[in-house]
């Protein structure tokens, strides 16, 4: 069911247009110390250049202090067509939330 995020096929030495460069996903960590957040994607010939392109495209206005790039084809994504069986199951299962439960009598701090 899981499948790689679709990317353009890269056949070496065959193309010289934009599709010849693989796609990379970019994650930026802001200076506020939060975790890396997905910012977008870009094309680059290799990992090192992807990092530099990410710097140029996604941190031009002081957005970040750390960057990750991941080859898009290395990301295993859930299948959009399988949303039902993947994500609808928790619906109606209120008992999975702490708020479902009433505080027991005599418990002062919870």
């Amino acid at each position: 069911m899981a499948q790689p995020v679709a990317t353009s096929p890269t056949e070496e030495g065959q193309r010289h247009d934009g599709a010849a460069w693989p796609l990379w996903e970019v994650f930026v960590r802001s200076s506020r110390g939060l975790s890396h957040v997905h910012a977008g994607s870009l094309h680059a010939p290799d990992a090192e250049m992807a990092l530099r392109n990410a710097r140029d495209l996604y941190t031009r206005r002081n957005e970040g202090v750390s960057l990750w790039v991941v080859a898009s084809e290395d990301i295993i994504a859930s299948d959009p067509d399988a949303k039902g069986e993947f994500f609808e199951s928790p619906q109606g299962k209120d008992y999975r939330h702490a708020t479902y439960y009433k505080k027991s009598e005599g418990v002062k701090h919870l």
């Binding site: 910012a39 090192e48 957005e63 970040g64």
Partner: protein, 281 residues
Amino acid sequence: MDHSLDSYGDATASATRVTPGNALRPEDIAIQPERPSQAVARYAVRLGDDSLILSHRLSEWVSRAPELEEDVALGNIALDLLGHARSFLSYAGLAWGKTEDDLAYFREEEEFRSLHLVEQPNGHFGVTIARQLMVSIYQDLLYAGLTGSTDNTLAAISAKASKEVAYHRDHAVQWTLRLGLGTEESARRMRHALEILWPYVNELFLDEPLHDELGDAGVRPSALKAAWEREIAAVLEEAGLEVPQTRAALCKGRQGEHSEHLGYILAEMQVLARKHPGATW
């Protein structure tokens, strides 16, 4: 040179918070009370002109680079260089009651002091990268030295420029390695690029009487030569390329004698400001 698009453009696209950051801006330099000496002002014009002309050259790649991402990378470098030019020219102008725009748009060709190397046409991507490699290693060494200038403003501009130029250098080195070690065709083009640009390298290291006047406010160009040669040779060796043995061309850019290219650059750069004096956009 108002860059409102760059400063205030679309700030909503980013996933994270946007902050302008604090740094020395040309606008602040233009109103500061300290005036440069005549020698420092003339020196600042040299530094500013190199960056201004190279910035213009790189901006010619916008919408024409091999990839969208590279388009942005070259555009970013062009804007960094324009920022350096604005700072240096704003500071120089204080000595003569002129603004950065007066100096950029209303000087004649023979009043410009740029090096021939930065005037050279972009050629193919390899030529642009070779020129970037040469200039960025040069400016990296130059600004590192100028950070210790006895002139506080030159030192402050250089300290800021130094970080940006280090990135320009990294960009050029990365591409030199990839083109040199890429395909037979990319290596051939890179060798060709180095050969056609090499004659203009010598001018980077020519001292002038001005440098005697400057003393410790400036950096003597000849003092950068050994380190530059060592550093570029190391990059070229790693990229499987050779240092060209081409002879030096006779260049007098610092005396206002330019290559045939500068006139065309200035015509394009200055036409709007001259046709509509005082216009803002």
